[in-house]
């Protein structure tokens, strides 16, 4: 089955059961938004899919194959990439370095960096995605919030992932920058990727999502196509 499947996933931190028996499937070429109150388990679920946390029970399958190694490196290699809420960028390093973090282009025995090739590929891919960064050599920490977000998203889609996970991608952005991120999300959907989005900004969610999952206390409370519901109904499910 194409796409990402979660099969009876449970996760606890100490005595707190954060996720309880989550079973669902995410189709390719579809944007799914996961919404819910704070502590509902949305970000934990995303981090499990990214390999940051390992589930206590259950399996994660990509295109029918079980992901058994449960580490970010393996999940990235298999085609699952994530944009983290705090971006997970190295702020003292330049844009090119950040784009290739953990997947540097090398020459000679795989240990010497090929900076020229990385720079060329970075420029080409940023142009393809329509992202403008004035100087790729500047430390990412000196760029604007929107530009830092763009670098994090560009890094996630640079190697054409099968699954793109986004944790609050629009939370800290100005209106114009939000629109750019939403355009990028739609592009990823059109390219046939599984796109899973966690967001508190329901207007943004309704602008891009095909399907909505409402989580409550570690369980999926509602699973609905976005056109079959309204913002008011979703808010009701979140708070109730």
């Amino acid at each position: 089955m194409n796409g990402l499947t979660l099969h009876h996933i449970s996760k606890s931190f100490g005595s707190v059961d954060v996720l309880k028996q989550i079973t669902t499937h995410f189709d390719a070429g579809q944007v799914t938004a996961i919404v819910g109150d704070n502590g509902a388990g949305k970000s934990t679920l995303l981090k499990l899919m990214a390999g940051i946390h390992a589930p206590d029970e259950g399996q994660i399958l990509l295109d029918g194959e079980v992901l058994s190694k449960r580490c970010p490196a393996d999940h990235r290699r298999r085609g699952i990439d994530m944009v983290y809420q705090d971006l997970a960028i190295a702020k003292q390093h330049d844009v090119v370095t950040n784009l290739f973090l953990g997947r540097e282009i090398t020459r000679r025995w795989g240990c010497f960096l090929n900076r020229a090739a990385m720079r060329k590929t970075a420029q080409r891919e940023l142009d393809r995605l329509g992202i403008t960064i004035p100087d790729l050599n500047r430390p990412v920490g000196v760029l604007s919030g929107g530009q830092q977000q763009a670098v994090a998203i560009a890094r996630a889609v640079l190697f054409n992932p099968k699954v793109l996970l986004l944790d609050e991608p629009t939370a800290a952005l100005a209106a114009r920058e939000v629109e750019q991120v939403l355009i990028l999300i739609r592009q990823q959907k059109q390219q046939g990727r599984v796109v899973i989005l966690v967001s508190h900004r329901l207007n943004d969610v309704f602008a891009v999502a095909d399907r909505l999952l409402v989580m409550h206390q570690g369980r999926i409370k509602l699973d609905t196509p976005s056109e079959a519901t309204t913002l008011a109904q979703i808010v009701e499910h979140i708070v109730g």
Binding site: Y84, Q92, P139
Partner: protein
């Protein structure tokens, strides 16, 4: 334009600051002492800086990755003592004694890195423990006394010169070159810097923080091992008390060279400029017959100035 190039890149700004400080020291001492600019004195500065220089190259990797290693000088003393013991008492061939001693430094580094990973304790504490263990081991191996009487061929090799360049300086230059290649040209060097910049960014992108940390301390240990062997060659003895507080001078040099003490930013060239600044300062003060107590005072003041300038550069 020039100012813009400097302020946009913290590394360049730090290097420029350090270079300016070195030039100022050079100009000052060349006017105050007629011997300062002589070839033999410059050789003296470089030879005297070689041991600290090697430790500082290792410390650059550790600081780049966001850690501190307080055990480097003690490990250096242990490696020098073990090498001298092997050559003198164990009758080892130099071809065995030297690599074994350098490798011992690497093993000490790996153990420190492993313990940091295992206990999740700050590197400051773990390396403090390793400092005591390594220093004690050096005392135990040597029974608390320096081991003299190394074979003639080892002393001749270690204290000689190739094309008028002293062997210690050649060893330092080799260490610098290898350190520069590792830090700037390889995946390992970049990952060490990324680890110092953001552990979460490293782990989220599949970089194994534990593995990188282990390698970083292993490399630093190898440099301590090289420094220990070099110190032994220069002094013709394996001295368990060697290099007291050298680890702090090495850290001073790295910070003076523009490294961010919290990790993520460090350069080998900057570190070497830092080592040279301290070497020139000490040599110049010696030429002016300034008391050792005041020399320590000046080194402290330089460290404070470096810490201040480092913050100025970082803010920009």
């Amino acid at each position: 334009m020039f100012a813009r190039i400097l302020t946009q890149n913290p590394n360049r700004l730090s290097l420029a600051q350090c270079l300016f400080f070195l030039a100022a020291l050079g100009v000052f001492f060349s006017f105050t002492s007629p011997y300062f600019l002589s070839v033999s004195n410059i050789n003296n500065i470089l030879t005297a800086s070689a041991v600290i220089g090697l430790i500082a190259v290792g410390a650059t990797f550790v600081i780049a990755s966001g850690h501190i290693d307080l055990s480097s000088a003690a490990v250096m003393a242990l490696c020098g003592t073990v090498c001298a013991w092997g050559l003198q008492k164990g009758e080892w061939s130099p071809w065995i004694a030297l690599p074994v001693s350098v490798s011992l430094g690497g093993v000490c580094g790996l153990v420190t890195g492993f313990l940091i990973t295992l206990t999740k304790a700050p590197s400051f504490i773990v390396s403090l423990g390793m400092m005591s263990i390594a220093r004690a081991a050096a005392y135990i191996v040597s029974h608390g006394m320096p081991i003299y009487g190394l074979p003639d061929n080892v002393i001749t090799g270690g204290q000689g010169a190739i094309a008028s360049v002293p062997v210690p300086v050649l060893l330092l230059l080799t260490g610098i070159f290898l350190g520069w290649v590792l830090l700037t040209q390889t995946k390992f060097g970049l990952h060490a810097l990324i680890l110092g910049d953001s552990v979460f960014a490293a782990e989220a992108t599949g970089i194994s923080a534990n593995r990188v940390r282990l390698k970083v301390f292993g490399v630093a240990g190898l440099y301590s091992g090289m420094a220990g062997v070099l110190f032994m060659l220069r002094t013709n003895a394996g001295d368990p008390t060697a290099g007291q507080s050298y680890e702090l001078i090495a850290i001073t040099a790295v910070i003076l060279g523009g490294a961010n003490l919290f990790g993520g930013r460090a350069t080998i060239i900057g570190t070497m400029l830092g080592v040279l600044c301290l070497g020139v300062l000490q040599n110049g003060l010696n030429l002016l017959a300034v008391s050792t107590y005041y020399q320590i005072l000046f080194v402290g003041m330089v460290l404070l100035a470096a810490a201040f300038l480092s913050r100025v550069g970082y803010r920009r």
